[in-house]
Amino acid sequence: MSTALTATQPRTSTGSGRSIAGWIGLLPALLVALVAGMSAIDPQFYGIINILNILRNASFLAIVACGQALVIIAGGFDLSVGAVVALASVVTAKTMAAAAVAFPGNNALIIASGVAAGLGCGLLVGLVNGFCVAKLKVSGFVVTLGTMSATAGVGLMITSGIPVYGMPEAFVKGFGRAQVLGLPTAVYLALAVILVTMFAQRRTLFGRYVYAIGGNVDAAVVSGVSIQRHIVGTYVLSSVLAALAGILLTAQVGSGQASFGGDRMMLQSIAAAVIGGVSLRGGVGRVEIVAISALFLTILGNALNLLHIDSRLQPVFLGVIMVAAVALDELSRRRKSRV
């Protein structure tokens, strides 16, 4: 072997910086440890119902976090997802209730119109976000802070905060609470979203350009990537996915609620993305790890409940574990850092 060439060989050969562990991080290992530990402590944990609940709740979070991750990878921030979840929920429910009056019995039409209206809300908010960020060049944080307030306001204006009923039973029983092959429908949808996003990230122009824009806008510009279109795309996807989560929640609960989402969903989705290795500086992040991180967060909450930890103290545990997990991950990656 010619060692001569290594004189000019790229530097990483020396460090283990991007080895397998470095690439996916510590999170999957932590997840496995958590699951194993919980299973050993409490058999309830691996009861089928508990697993289904975990999967379903993780699905909602994962769907929202997928969109959030795309926005962050492109160098943005979407604070409005929680408000969109709520707006989509009430709009879907209202539309279905109205359609149910107009076309009694025609369930397919009623459900289709409700879902379309809900997703339409997401689309609209996403377009507004994308337009303000891409065209008016206002920072994503501020734009979505504004649309968060406005969207939540509209949701409450429509409903006065009162739950909206009147959706067809078929939507709730046949979709929201239904199970296919033993798994809730939400899980399938979340899997589909994750797989499609994975595919998009690895194999499509859109995914490639999202990385490029977040990684170095100037480089993307001079390489002829149309920036605005793709930035708008990420915000639209994020809002539409948030709307989808809102519709799923609505179907599960059986009523449209302006209390869905809120700050909690927003913070959790960003936390899931960031803990899942998405860099807030943009350009880095894989959606499958984000999904694992959503699962991790959901199981953590479930575990604290199963362990009978005083609910007032739960946030303390949650906070400490979250920080510790990310700190460990950070330290394990730090080998190749300079300065």
């Binding site: 010619s2 060692t3 001569a4 060439l5 290594t6 004189a7 000019t8 060989q9 790229p10 530097r11 990483t12 020396t14 460090g15 910086g17 991007r18 194999r203 499509t204 122009l205 859109f206 490639r208 990385y211 490029a212 977040g214 990684g215 170095n216 100037d218 480089a219 993307a220 510009v221 001079v222 390489s223 002829g224 990537v225 350009g283 880095v284 190749k336 300079r338 300065v339």
Partner: protein
């Protein structure tokens, strides 16, 4: 203006007439004309901030010009965009890389020109084409590596490969050798010759006279955004070019430095770094002399001095400063020990661009009573001190309240150098001190070093530009594979010997 008349039947490949470009407050280009013929290498020559990069950006469609006409291949082009430019065969290699650090080499090569069918990437085909291109160019690049894992030289290669993907009629190279060493530079020159023979036009920007000599067919000199003259390279002298560029006469490129080696200031014993980039290095530097370190890209020369300053973690070994052992270095402690470091990458590691020059220059001295008492800044004293230093270094424009980002490359370097004058220092570590700065500014930097050694400081210069280290240093170390391959003094200090110690090792390795 004396643009010499094109004698060929066919018109020039690229013809710019009366191009102007104004940025807020500056007129970067003022009615510039430029012709580039097919098969010609046309050098753009000018001081930092003369408008070279701006002109290149106009040609490659990044900035629309405010006025002027643009003909390419005989056709008038309006509303040029980066995509369109690439489509018609204009390929730029930018000074500030247009690479996305988090993507791989291959992904960067195809950025904006991916092979895809209905939005889905065709990875295998791109991989094949990337391999083929890299092999053809003879670069040691792994297409699947992430760009932020690459050395700057490899990034430069990626940038060049990116420009050569697809059909190229006009290749633009903006200081392509600034971070390449001899070997890669040689490869690049071969490539340029090949392209010229294929009738590709080239625009080439460099501050290195040797390259201009070696490559140029014609040279266009720019000054303050204006076209000064276009000359035939064969019939003009260096002195003439430099004079046209600066408006004054500069005779010597390197000052004569009187070295008076005194006590050993830096003594490194068996130094090994945790990442293995430097292994078992022994070397020393004396007060009153310039110690040079040369070596191929990635040989660990930068890491060596960065480790002394405290930017790279050490695994083992001993560093002595002025005879005393110096353990666990950090930048702050190094400064207190009288050691200063001037990073190669002034944008990433040197300057806070949006802050005023004054703040950038005083940054390293804030712990001194001259600048602050009990944590409270002495702003008047600061202003006077920094203004004095900057006057001494001939900062242009001399306003120290301007943002550092508004300065040209050479003047940014002066701000960095100014830091050295804010406090008592005895050891100066320079990493690629002349990267990207023009001939005039280089001379000023060299003069600065000369003053330092003559005042009794120990100066260590790490450089990829061989003539520079050869001319400046009193003793020269050559590094290879993270180890010291040779120490050259006096008459041994020749280009021949340096190259020999690069390649001796190569040959040895190949035999083994």
């Amino acid at each position: 203006m004396d643009v010499d008349i094109d004698l060929k039947q066919t018109g020039p490949l690229l013809a710019l007439r009366g191009i102007s470009k104004r940025f807020t407050g500056v007129r970067a280009l003022d009615r510039v004309d430029l012709d580039v013929r097919a098969g010609e290498l046309h050098v753009l020559f000018g001081e930092n901030g003369a408008g070279k990069s701006t002109l290149i950006n106009v040609v490659s469609g990044t900035f629309p010009p405010d006025e002027g006409t643009f003909h390419f291949g005989g056709e008038e082009i309006r509303h040029l965009t980066p995509q369109r430019a690439r489509a018609i065969g204009i390929s730029p290699v930018f000074q500030e890389f247009s690479l996305v650090p988090s993507l791989t080499v291959e992904e960067n090569l195809f950025l904006g020109r991916e092979v895809s069918s209905s939005g889905v990437l065709r990875a295998r085909e791109m991989r094949k084409r990337a391999r083929a291109l890299i092999d053809e160019l003879g670069f040691d690049l792994d297409p699947s590596q992430r760009v932020d894992d690459l050395s700057r030289a490899h990034q430069q290669m990626t940038e060049i490969a990116k420009a050569l993907l697809g059909r190229v009629r006009l290749l633009i190279l903006d200081e392509p050798t600034a971070s390449l060493t001899e070997r890669e530079t040689g490869r690049l020159f071969e490539l340029i010759a090949r392209l010229k023979s294929q009738n590709v036009g080239l625009i080439y920007v460099s501050h290195r006279m040797r390259e201009i000599r070696a490559l140029a067919d014609r040279v266009t000199v720019l000054r303050d955004g204006r076209h000064i003259r276009t000359l035939n390279a064969a019939t003009s002298t260096d002195g003439e070019l430099v004079e046209l560029m600066t408006g004054r006469k500069i005779d010597l490129l390197f000052p004569t430095i009187a070295h008076k080696p005194d006590k050993v200031m830096v003594d490194v014993e068996n130094l090994t770094l945790t990442d293995g980039s430097v292994r078992d290095v022994n070397f020393y530097a004396q007060a009153g002399e310039i110690t040079g370190i040369a070596g191929l890209v990635g040989c660990g020369k930068s890491e060596l001095i960065r480790a002394i300053y405290g930017l790279e973690p050490m695994a083992s070994g001993v560093v002595r400063i002025d005879g005393l052992r110096y353990e666990f270095p950090t930048p702050r402690r190094s400064l207190k020990h009288g050691i200063a470091y001037f990073p190669a990458n002034r944008i990433a590691e040197g300057l806070a661009l949006s802050r005023p020059i004054r703040e950038n220059a005083s940054m390293t001295g804030l712990d001194l009573p001259a600048f602050a008492r009990f944590g409270v800044l002495r702003q008047a004293a600061e202003r006077i001190t920094i203004a004095g230093i900057m006057e001494q270094l001939q900062l242009r424009p001399p306003n120290i309240e301007r943002a550092a980002g508004a300065l040209s490359g050479g003047n940014r370097q002066k701000v960095m150098l100014g830091r050295a004058l804010t406090r008592e220092l005895t050891v100066f570590l320079f990493d690629e001190p002349s990267v990207g700065i023009d001939v005039g500014a280089k001379l000023e930097v060299y003069e600065f070093m000369k003053r330092l050694v003559e005042a009794g400081a120990a100066v260590i210069v790490v450089s990829s530009e061989l003539p520079e280290v050869l001319a400046l240093s009193n003793r020269l170390y050559v590094m290879h594979h993270g180890r010291i391959a040779a120490e050259l003094k006096g008459a041994e200090k020749t280009e021949q010997n340096v190259l020999a110690s690069f390649f001796r090792d190569h040959l040895a390795a190949e035999v083994a």
